[in-house]
Amino acid sequence: MAELTLTNIGKHFGGAPALQSVTTRVNDREFLALLGPSGCGKSTLLRLLAGFEQPSAGSIRIGNREVANADTRLIVPPEERNIGYVFQSYALWPHMTVRRNVGYPLEIRKLSKSDRETRIDAALEATALGPYGDRMPSDLSGGQRQRVALARCLVSDPTAVLLDEPLANLDVALRASMQGVFCDFHQRTGATMVYVTHDQAEAMAMADRIAVMNEGRIMQLDTPEALYARPRSRFVAEFIGDGAVVPLTGTSHSDSACEATLLGTRLRVETDTPTPEMACLRPENLTIAETGDIRARVERVTYLGGRYRLDLVAASGEPLVTQSNTRYAPGEHIGLALTAPWAFAAA
């Protein structure tokens, strides 16, 4: 087990940069999710960690061993990094049985046959693949294939496991059960894991911490709760969770509280910067009340099962989002009471 340290990593493929000055650390035994829209550089970051790509700038350490350095042109090839990698396409070798696929890393490490067999059995057992050992990958379902891929990377005790959107090709039900498999795996082995996904529910459900990425940068690295409650940029506030971002003015600080004007009313806001410029209004910050602070018009109503999501436009023009237990008709005017929203410096 080991921690992963990236220092000032940059990567470009010919033209536009795919990653820019990424500095971060994945702690030992941590489950870190890389979350971001498609094309933001998640896979590139993961492939740099694995050694499939070489950084254009910066350096990477696994534990206390430097594995890549753009200045000294040092690059430790993937086969010498002892890292597990789970591919979105599974990348099972179609010409080998499930057992041989799983046991291949041990063949490379020249383990004795009996050692190999015990460890393959243990890995197959841990992924509930016991009965499928002699099948070919083509005879397995999607979920089973992904479990073989996991067993293959688990069998050789890697120092860290990197997973690139491993559940993207599975259906919704299977995804939930595979999330359980990954979490169990993490708890049992305590391996450092970096998990790439574009699905925030998946990241929230599994990760200790989430790194939200956009356009080749890490925008914020925090626990799921902190990301939701205390975003530090407009991008993160809009990308994570539901809600609206509105500008605020006239901030005034008293001893412990802070007040500002937003949506045309004066309101207490939560913040940790002296000059916040934006506030993030989650649905739970807005309560429908005829005597509320502001008024808004209902634009669209979406049934979510048991409750409704309302898209609103405030009297001052900003779009807002809230939820209610009863249906409203589009065009209706409602009053809203606001509870202290999170405010942050615009970026």
């Binding site: 499939f52 690059i75 990348a91 010409h95 050789s156």
Partner: protein, 568 residues
């Protein structure tokens, strides 16, 4: 060396291995071509372009160039007519027995051109055993109708029909059904769909097929040699052969100039083919739908009968002519029950030591070439795909040259390169090794291209997964790359074997007593008037090729998908 972007992660060992194999491959394929070019522009030692233009301005050169262009051009037209009708019908309709049709259409390509020529002359001339037997022979002294430009054009056309058929069929099968359905929903019907949708989509593959057929026809030696030389009608390859046979090695420089001339035409053809292939890839990218299947309805049976009659005409009849000739005691005697004789077969196969030697030589050469090329091409294609250096890209665009150049030209290049080995007094000329090296150069592309395209389709994650579990380069090559590209490699090896086994044009200039190949033996027997024996040997080769193809076809169900080159 600097490893440019595609896979910067690659370890240094891969770069070193690539340089090594690439160097070897360049030596094998491009060194002879370069040597030939050098000879052509430096006649007599120094750079001398006047000699070059002198040869080019000779009337014989002009007429041979004209003859080459005419025969190859019109021959291609015939190939397109037959091949595209077959391709459209086989690929797009509900014909029955398609596998058998495809198999039969592949045979002309696998039968050496000189045997095709021999079999057709046996079928048609005034001394045709077949016609005599049927009482239809023209009077003695009447000209053999095939000894003419028309005969050359007809046979070139038939010989290369399979090339058009195969490329066009692949293109047609890539058209998804949805494309045609979308056209019908938009209101297009009948002929309009063919004209405005199917044809534009297949045009790139058709044009690519046309270019490669033209180049192959241009380099054909067997047919113009057997039909054109008796008629005094020389094409560039036969002119080269006659120059060389007539005056020995003093005319090497002149011949090199002619070779460059034909090389330029061939390269133009390849470039055109490349251009259209690239356009085709853009066209049909991402189409994964079902292929078209148009029901023929009531027309099916008549169409099937017509197709099989065509196959009978271009394949079965000439073979019968050849068989008939091989079964008479002396050339010109009609074949009847009381004249049937196996003397020709016995004499040719068991009495002539050269035939037995030729069988051993051809088998050894073609198996050897297939094995060596497989060992060379597999790692090379994989490494070249991963590390795109300037050198590897340049090699990629030139490696078809030895195959596209006429065999005679390649043979001369080999002689120039190997007649005096650098730094030694040794010469490979007259040994079997010069033929072997020539085969490696000539059939390199036949092996390399299928392997390359199958490796390109391989998910790069297959290799990366092995890398991430710690497999070093040679283990990945052995455990992942080799097994996954084995079907394509096997297909390439089968093609190399079948074409090398039949080959005449390269060895025609390189053989010497003891190193004859089968192609040479047939040519020599026919040349010295032993037509019956030549027919017997030719028939044997046809049988061997067909049996080999049939065995491959029959085991195809148990072979991995993609091993049988004519099934895709």
């Amino acid at each position: 060396m600097t490893l440019a972007s595609a896979n910067p992660s690659s370890s240094r060992s891969e770069g070193r291995l690539l340089s090594l194999i690439l160097g070897l491959a360049i030596l094998v394929t491009l060194a002879p071509v370069a040597r030939l070019f050098f000879e052509g522009v430096t006649a007599g030692g120094s750079l001398n372009l006047t000699f070059f233009s002198e040869v080019l301005s000779k009337p014989a050169t002009h007429s041979a160039l004209r003859h080459s262009l005419v025969t190859a051009g019109l021959g291609t037209v015939i190939s397109v007519l037959i091949g595209s009708v077959f391709a459209f019908l086989v690929a797009l309709t509900d014909l029955r027995r398609k596998a058998a049709l495809v198999f039969c259409l592949m045979i002309p390509m696998m039968i050496p051109p000189q045997i095709t020529a021999l079999s057709w002359t046996q079928m048609m001339g005034p001394s045709s055993v077949l016609l005599k037997t049927l009482g239809l022979a023209p009077p003695l002294g009447a000209p053999q109708p095939l000894y003419s430009p028309g005969g050359i054009i007809l046979l070139l056309g038939i010989q290369h029909t399979s090339i058009i058929f195969l490329t066009l069929r692949a293109g047609l099968r890539a058209i998804p059904q949805e494309v045609v359905e979308a056209a019908r929903i938009s209101g297009a019907r009948g002929f309009r769909i063919w004209w405005q949708v199917v044809l534009p989509l297949t045009l790139p593959s058709l044009l690519a097929g046309v270019a490669i057929t033209f180049v192959t026809a241009l380099g054909n030696f067997g047919i113009p040699a057997m039909l054109g030389i008796p008629a005094g009608y020389a094409t560039l390859p036969t002119l080269i052969y006659q120059r060389l046979a007539g005056m020995g090695t003093t005319v090497l420089a002149e011949v090199a100039v002619l070779a460059i001339l034909i090389g330029i035409v061939a390269i133009t053809g390849i470039l055109i083919q490349r251009f259209f292939q690239r356009r085709q890839r853009v066209h049909l990218v991402g189409s994964t739908g079902r292929p078209l299947a148009i029901p023929l309805g009531r027309a099916r049976l008549p169409v099937e009968i017509t197709l099989w009659l065509v196959i009978a005409g271009i394949l079965v009849l000439p073979m019968m002519g050849l068989l008939a000739t091989s079964l008479v005691p002396a050339y010109g005697v009609p074949l009847r029950l009381d004249t049937v004789s196996l003397d020709g077969w016995y004499e040719a196969l068991f009495r002539q030591p050269s035939t037995r030697r030729a069988f051993v030589n051809s088998f050894g050469l073609s198996i050897g070439a297939a094995v060596v090329l497989m060992a060379l091409c597999l790692p090379l294609a994989w490494l070249m795909d991963r590390h795109q250096t300037r050198l590897s890209r340049a090699f990629d665009s030139l490696l078809d040259l030895p195959y596209a150049l006429p065999g005679v030209v390649l043979a001369i290049a080999m002689i120039l390169l190997l007649i005096n080995l650098p730094f030694t007094d040794l010469s490979l000329y007259g040994t079997i090794w010069i033929i072997f090296l020539a085969y490696l150069a000539r059939f390199f592309a036949v092996m390399f291209r299928p392997v390359q395209s199958s490796l390109r389709q391989l998910d790069p994650a297959m290799n990366e997964a092995a890398q991430s579990v710690g497999a070093p380069l040679w283990r990945r090559l052995r455990d992942i790359v080799l097994p996954l590209s084995a079907p394509a490699a096997a297909a390439g090896a089968i093609l190399v074997f079948l074409t090398a086994f039949n080959e005449l044009t390269v060895s025609a200039l390189l053989w010497s007593s003891g190193t004859e190949t089968l192609g040479v033996v047939i040519f020599n027997l026919d040349d010295s008037g032993e037509t019956v024996m030549a027919s017997a040997v030719a028939m044997t080769i046809v049988f061997v090729v067909m049996i080999l193809m049939a065995v491959i076809q029959l085991t195809s169900r148990r072979l991995p998908k993609g091993v049988v080159p004519w099934q895709s």
